[in-house]
């Protein structure tokens, strides 16, 4: 039987919290997914990126070669997300991340705020890569994880290529 009270709001609803934090940090998963999508977006500063992508891919190949030839020679700076382990793959990952960050840090003509934005994006990408890499160690044949990792490598290459391009343009302007 219906009761007239059923049409009245329940008082306790007013005391319900407006926010409830999830049980875990969802950002790494979101970052990995949007990183995959990001390659399809074209922010203003990315125009002209295609030409410099060739340079970045070449540099990536060079880093890989260096890491394989002299894995013990490279130094991983403190503060890197390199949980460097004796595993060659992890070592390569840490060295590549260090080289990528050094590329940005050693570009002398970048404004500090610009450098900060690039470094933040780079660390987000690298953090996501590391998590996916760890997941792949447990599930090495997962095609989705492999695809996500591939996309993140592409994103990193695009970011570094844009940095190199900006650095080159600034140098040319200064020379003029």
């Amino acid at each position: 039987m219906n009761n007239v009270n059923d049409d009245k709001p329940i008082k306790a609803v007013e005391r319900l919290p407006r926010e409830i934090a999830p049980g875990r940090d969802l950002w790494p998963g979101i970052a990995a997914r949007i990183g995959r999508k990001q390659r399809n977006r074209h922010p203003l500063w990315a125009y002209g990126l295609a030409a410099s992508l060739f340079v970045a891919v070449g540099a990536g190949g060079l880093w890989f070669g260096l890491a394989r030839q002299a894995p013990e020679a490279a130094t991983v700076p403190a503060g890197q997300l390199a949980a460097a382990t004796p595993d060659p793959q992890s070592q390569y990952f840490a060295q590549r991340a260090a080289l990528a960050e050094n590329t940005v840090q050693s570009a002398p003509n970048l404004a500090p705020a610009t450098r900060e934005v690039i470094m933040k994006n780079l660390r987000i990408i690298e953090g996501s890569m590391q998590q996916i890499q760890e997941a792949l160690e447990k599930d090495p044949n997962n095609p989705r994880l492999r695809s996500l990792l591939y996309d993140l490598y592409q994103n990193e290459a695009q970011l570094l290529a844009a940095t190199q391009q900006a650095q080159a343009q600034t140098t040319t302007r200064n020379e003029l």
């Binding site: 306790a12 999830p22 977006r41 203003l44 934005v117």
Partner: protein, 190 residues
């Protein structure tokens, strides 16, 4: 001297975190760090509505992730007419409702079958005034009743808006709300 990169992407300079429109503009230009700021600011609110609508922690986390990914993909259409929080909240509601589309179609008529299931669940030991008890009771409502209750009583939508969002008729939405309140009262007073 300002770098060429900074000249090419002025909106990608680190925005003032207090200036939400600037943070959203940076995110729209592809700055993931800016988008993470927006995520940190609104994840609690988005997760709360997902959790209450879904009635399930795992599904709520999936929907929260989906909502932010969809927000990122749709940032180009965000014009700042409302706050980013309001915008992403609406995306979150739609995300959960899409997951429950089948259940909502089946809920075009209100039945009492689920009421019997709910009534068989033992009541919690805490007092009826306790918010956690209410949260648990909401989660145990039949799906359509739960969604209408959350959208109307918790989120403040009208029956017309709920009808538009869910595909239910206005009258059906009212019937589900009436039923949800009755079930909650019975449970809280048990």
């Amino acid at each position: 001297m300002e770098s060429a990169l900074a000249m090419q992407m002025p909106t990608r300079m680190t925005p003032d975190p207090a200036d939400e429109s600037a943070v959203a503009a940076s995110a729209r230009d592809g700055d993931m760090a800016a988008f993470e700021q927006l995520y940190r600011r609104y994840v609690g609110r988005v997760h709360a509505v997902c959790l209450r609508l879904a009635g399930n922690a795992t599904l709520a986390e999936e929907c929260t992730q989906d909502a932010f990914v969809r927000a990122w993909e749709s940032l180009g259409s965000f014009r700042g007419d409302s706050s980013f929080g309001t915008w992403v909240h609406r995306i979150a509601v739609n995300t959960v409702l899409e997951r429950h589309r089948t259940q909502l179609r089946q809920a075009a008529w209100v039945t009492h079958k689920d009421d019997e299931i709910l009534e068989s669940v033992p009541a919690a030991d805490v007092g009826p005034e306790h918010a956690m008890d209410l949260e648990a009771s909401i989660a145990e409502l039949p799906p359509a009743a739960r969604m209408v209750f959350v959208l109307f009583d918790v989120e403040g939508h009208s029956h017309e808006e709920i009808a538009e969002m869910t595909g239910l008729a206005v009258g059906t939405s009212k019937a589900h709300l009436h039923r949800a309140r009755r079930l909650l009262r019975e449970r809280l007073e048990a």
